[in-house]
Symmetry: C2
Subunit: 224 residues, 2 copies
DNA sequence: GTAAAATTAGACGCCATTGTCTAAGTCGTC
DNA sequence: GACGACTTAGACAATGGCGTCTAATTTTAC
């Protein structure tokens, strides 16, 4: 039980999980074969059965693994919120780029969207967990961010939750097709899509403002 | 070869196609079994092989059938565009409700989204066809509509294509979760989601203001 | 070096599914 | 009633995947 053994076991485990994620994502649960997973993982079939009792056990483990990784990444993204309203358009744009690149348009994001959609009805608890810790947490955090920015007078929003969902939707508007395809968008596409999204969002919810320092009268009253 | 025989064949064919759509949608291509399709269709397995050479032939036929129905429905939806700018918010809202109810949140829409995502990489031509005749045609038509409304002075839009994609994205913003789930949203949800979408869209792209009834004070100030 | 643990390749039984085939049955038309 | 087209239930071989087992080999621990 020293470090080496653990590392060796962990290595195989990770190799299996990665390969299984790849194959499950491409073929779906029913279409994926243990033999193919073993081949991709460069591991014998027996080793897989040594770590996971059966195919379904492996599948659940894979989904939970990817979900954990994705949730951790999302959490770290949420800590990069632009709290400063000085340069909101650029800051929000950069945030959307980061979010899309690291959480939504990456391998894990693709895997989760695909698998949740195909196997979600068969594993309701997995789906529910993903919904809460993924999109749920994102919109909650965005909603709180928009509330703070509204109090600062940088935004004019009546319903923060709706605004949060719309913000996410706008951020994906130009990428829906690329992502649905399976092909990841280029950095240029990501940048342009984010810029379009944030501009429209700010046209709708941005301070009607003219001069930078000024704050909406009615909001200034609330801000105390 | 009389009418009756033909009708009988058509009836069986339709029955098979409907059942296959149901089973393929729930189980995916690999997970679906011909026997289950036959059982759902109340037809013997041999009858299926009589109409379709093999499983893949049946699958392609099902997808094409659903796509044709969905495209026809979308085409008829596009003819109900609100060209009159008198009551744009209500008209656009009603249009979004119709679109979501009849094209996106219905059985066919769910089927296509799910199948295109899972089997799209295996059948690129099917996916490409869907992309062109479905979302592609929708955004093209919306783009043209927004151009007309802009020329009338009812909207202020710089990039019609981007606005069209954003319009669609906003229209789905509040329904993403319900739809991803598999459960169809209620009429009330549809109405509220469409209202939220159109309000935000018009805040971003609507004519700065008019002397119409309920206009935001700060927007009225800008209207000059 | 030795023992324990993990891994491997391969064979195996089992079961589900695919696609074919056959013999019987149904339905409508002449 | 006879005929043809279609359907049906069931048997059938072939395939492939799952999960188990074994014996040999490698890796790791001490």
């Amino acid at each position: 039980m020293t470090g080496h053994t653990q590392r060796g076991q962990c290595f195989k485990r990770m190799s299996i999980l990665d390969a299984a994620a790849d194959v499950f994502c491409r073929q779906g649960f029913a279409g994926a074969s243990i033999d193919e997973i073993a081949a991709v993982a460069c591991v014998s079939r027996q080793t897989i059965y040594n770590h996971y009792r059966e195919k379904e056990t492996l599948f659940v483990a894979v989904v939970e693994d990817v979900m954990n990784r994705a949730n951790t990444m999302l959490f770290s993204m949420l800590s990069t919120f632009p709290e400063n309203a000085d340069n909101l358009e650029d800051d929000l744009t950069a945030f959307v780029v980061r979010l899309n690149k690291n959480c939504i348009c990456n391998h894990d994001g693709k895997f989760l969207r695909k698998l949740v959609q195909t196997e979600g009805e068969r594993y309701p608890h997995l789906f529910e967990s993903w919904r809460q810790h993924g999109p749920g947490k994102l919109t909650t955090a965005l909603s709180a961010l928009f509330a703070r920015l509204s109090h600062k007078g940088a935004l004019v929003i009546d319903d923060f939750d709706v605004a949060a969902r719309q913000f996410v939707a706008l951020g994906n508007a130009d990428l829906q097709m690329s992502v649905l395809f399976g092909g990841m968008p280029t950095d240029e596409e990501l940048e342009k899509a984010a810029r379009n999204a944030v501009r429209t969002f700010l046209k709708a919810y941005g301070r009607p403002a003219t001069e930078k320092a000024g704050v909406q009268p009615q909001l200034a009253a609330v801000s105390g």
